[in-house]
């Protein structure tokens, strides 16, 4: 994290636009650097940390968090938050098991579609409530967090679905690799590229940034804010649903507690990844990097011989550092933009 600190503002004279763009590029670069630093340090302490197997495990471990973080970033960019994703993941994971129990021969792609669609429906519930009740997303999704989990509990009471209940091919997907890269990680990469592409290149994606940047101005500009935010929640829900299916494939054993508490991890990844919690800026690439960084830290701390008790504290410190850095960075960018002449 320290590496970013020096880079941007020193070049204040070099033009605000370039500076600002750099600050954002640097933001993602900074996370990447922190990641490299962490991996190098840990490897020096314990060379086995960089083994192919361990790297694969790391990627695998980041996958689900990264997919969730991408969906969350879409929501956070619009100045909202989705706390229900952990419950959506849980519900979708259990549904995966239940469907396979009922229809053992179901093709895997179809299962992926079903899980994603279930998530999308639950996301639509969130989006619909927010649009209809005009209640802040924080409150609505806090409510649905408990509601969805409650449904999950009711459905799964006393039941547990084991690996034996699911097709071997499906479970194999959880650990399979293509040219050494886990298949699950490929899913995450595909999601990342697709969502990143839309946010960057499509009008609707740009409008999400506009909404988060200034909701009132967005309304005055005729942006269909309600609809866009609704679809942001559908996206977030759908990705959580997809993540639920992948969760089932990876872990095999399912009960009603799958994904419990994940939402805070995901918000942490998004914030560490440089997506402004007040919306309007940041990227899904940053959010995904944040997810990888958090996973790596959790894997690295034991290797570095740090008491597991401190792990959460370390993650917390990282979040605070990221937010502090964001503040400092945006204050400096804002100041240099203000102080600089706008006319070229």
């Amino acid at each position: 994290m320290t590496a970013v600190d020096t880079a941007p503002a020193e070049t204040a004279t070099g033009g605000g636009a370039r500076l600002a763009r750099r600050a954002f590029a640097v933001r993602e670069l900074g996370i990447a650097l922190a990641l490299v630093l962490l991996v190098v340090t840990t490897t020096v302490v314990n060379p086995r940390f960089l083994s192919a197997q361990n790297l694969k495990d790391l990627l695998l471990g980041s996958t689900i968090l990264a997919i969730l973080a991408v969906g969350q970033a879409v929501v956070v960019i619009t100045r909202n938050v989705d706390l229900s994703i952990g419950s959506i993941l849980g519900l979708s994971a259990f549904a995966t098991g239940a469907v396979f129990v009922a229809v053992p021969g179901l093709p895997i792609p179809l299962m992926l579609v079903i899980g994603t669609a279930l998530g999308a429906v639950l996301g639509a519930v969130n989006g619909g409530l927010i649009a209809a009740a005009r209640v802040p997303a924080l409150v609505v999704t806090l409510g649905t967090l408990y509601m969805f989990r409650g449904v999950d509990y009711m459905w799964a009471t006393g039941r547990q679905i084991n690996a034996a209940d699911m097709p071997a091919a499906f479970l194999g997907m959880g650990t399979a690799t293509v040219l050494g890269v886990p298949v699950l990680a490929l899913f995450a990469a595909a999601v990342l590229v697709a969502v990143g592409y839309v946010l960057r290149n499509h009008r609707s994606g740009r409008e999400l940034y506009a909404i988060g940047s200034d909701p009132a101005a967005a309304r005055l500009s005729g942006i269909p804010s309600g609809r866009r935010v609704f679809y942001a929640f559908v996206t977030s829900g759908a990705l959580a649903g997809l993540a639920g299916v992948l969760h089932a494939a990876r872990f095999g054993t399912l009960d009603a507690n799958a994904g419990l508490g994940t939402e805070l991890n995901v918000v942490a990844a998004v914030v560490v990844g440089g997506v402004a919690i007040f919306g309007g800026s940041g990227s899904v690439y940053g959010a995904a990097l944040g997810a990888v960084l958090l996973t790596t830290i959790r894997a690295a701390l034991p290797v570095l011989g740090i008491n597991p008790f401190w792990q959460d504290a370390a993650v917390g410190a990282l979040i605070l550092a990221a937010i502090g850095l964001d503040r400092a960075l945006s204050a400096r960018v804002a100041r240099s933009l203000r102080e600089r002449k706008a006319h070229v």
């Binding site: 004279t13 033009g15 605000g16 636009a17 370039r18 600002a20 763009r21 960057r200 290149n201 499509h202 009008r203 740009r206 409008e207 940034y209 506009a210 988060g212 940047s213 200034d214 009132a216 101005a217 967005a218 309304r219 005055l220 500009s221 005729g222 942006i223 269909p224 402004a276 309007g280 800026s281 960018v333 804002a334 100041r335 933009l337 203000r338 102080e339 600089r340 002449k341 706008a342 006319h343 070229v344």
Partner: protein, 499 residues
Amino acid sequence: MPTPLLALDGVSKSFGAVAALRDVRLELHAGEAHALVGENGAGKSTLVKILAGVHAPDAGTVTLDGRPLLLSGPADARAAGIAVIYQEPTLFADLSVAENIFMGRQPLRSLRRVDYAAMRERAAELFARLGVRLDPDRPARGLSIADQQLVEIAKAISLDARVLVMDEPTAALSGIEVERLFAVARSLRDAGTAVLFISHRFDEVFALCQTVTVMRDGRWVSTDPAGTLTVDEVVRRMVGREVSAMYPKQDTAPGEPRLQVRGLTRHGVFDDVTFTVHAGEIVALAGLVGAGRSEVSRAIFGVDRHDAGEVLLDGSRLPNGDTAAAIRAGLALVPEDRRQQGLVMELSVERNTNLPRRWRLSRGGLLFGGDERRAATTWAQRLQVKAGRLTDPVSTLSGGNQQKVVLAKWLATAPKVLIVDEPTRGIDVGTKAEVHRLLSQLAADGVAVLMVSSELPEVLGMADRVLVMHEGRLTADIPRARADEQSVMLAATGQAAAA
């Protein structure tokens, strides 16, 4: 008369107990520029927002081409060919200037991707047409209020609309930019666009418009061809009484130097700015938009740091970039951008008025509602703030009334040196005279006043001395006796050597 392009008939609109519009009518014709004038809070912006689809009228009809027009949102208005420049710029701070202009209508290339290069190019073309050289790539965050208005103007003209509505687009612009805007507006008008123009500057109204509609207290008063009206007549209809003595600066003998600025420099923004303001003096800082006037005033106040030079108040040096120290030393700055720098929009009028004075008002750290209300009421009355209740949030006030709250807030600190940046932006004639009387009174009481203003009559009427900036440098220091339109404009455009 042919059928009007756009017509409002019997339109009313209330916000709770406040009746902002009552039975208002208005007809806009193709190829005609129509002025809408009225005091602060007369309901002009509310009418604009009805045309923009932001507010739905409580009663009355809007017709386009003689057919009823139902607007359920700003998108509908845009689709109907109505382009609106709102009084308060509504930009997305995080996005680039070009993206702000084309949001929702970005040029596309294959696969419906946003074509950033084309967007940048078209933004640059728009700015060229307006004669400004704004960087389309920079984020909107940090743009001066004048630049924000220029972006809004670029956005509106890029729509190629049939009806162009401009709510005080010129309030922060100086003569040259206004001329360029008018040139564009005239060419649009001549091409058949109906233009609705709102301004508190009557010279502009008469320079651009063929028809003038006057409003008072939410009611329609009159609509006449501009040729048959005089400024005095318009003012009388607006205010309902005679308004005299527009710029009553009393002559005072300047006292000892109060504010001394020596060699103030910020690289790339302003360079070697040196001047002195004496007690009892009003010094105006004139120049074009982007000349660096606001930047200088912010550097003096310590909002921004400077790279070289010094600022002295009563002979003692102010620390660089320390606003708190500047306030303690007796400096006050009324900023140009009231939304971003002057007001807390969601707080009430009285809270806003008392923000910088809270410490003095509090007894043992507690704020007492009664005192706060009394102090706020005094200033609000002197400046004729028109608000439903002082406890209403500032965001519900009309633009001019918000400006009065900003002024009240800083005047109440009883400063030794008062820097005002566009003090009367968006303020109507009657109150403008009151603001000028207040500034003059403050000067007579020994306050040194530095006034940044883009409005030439205000500069010429109020200032003991006029400093003119051009591209970051002081190009002239003109005493009141020799200051006139020509000498100031020449210096502002860089055609006169330092006097």
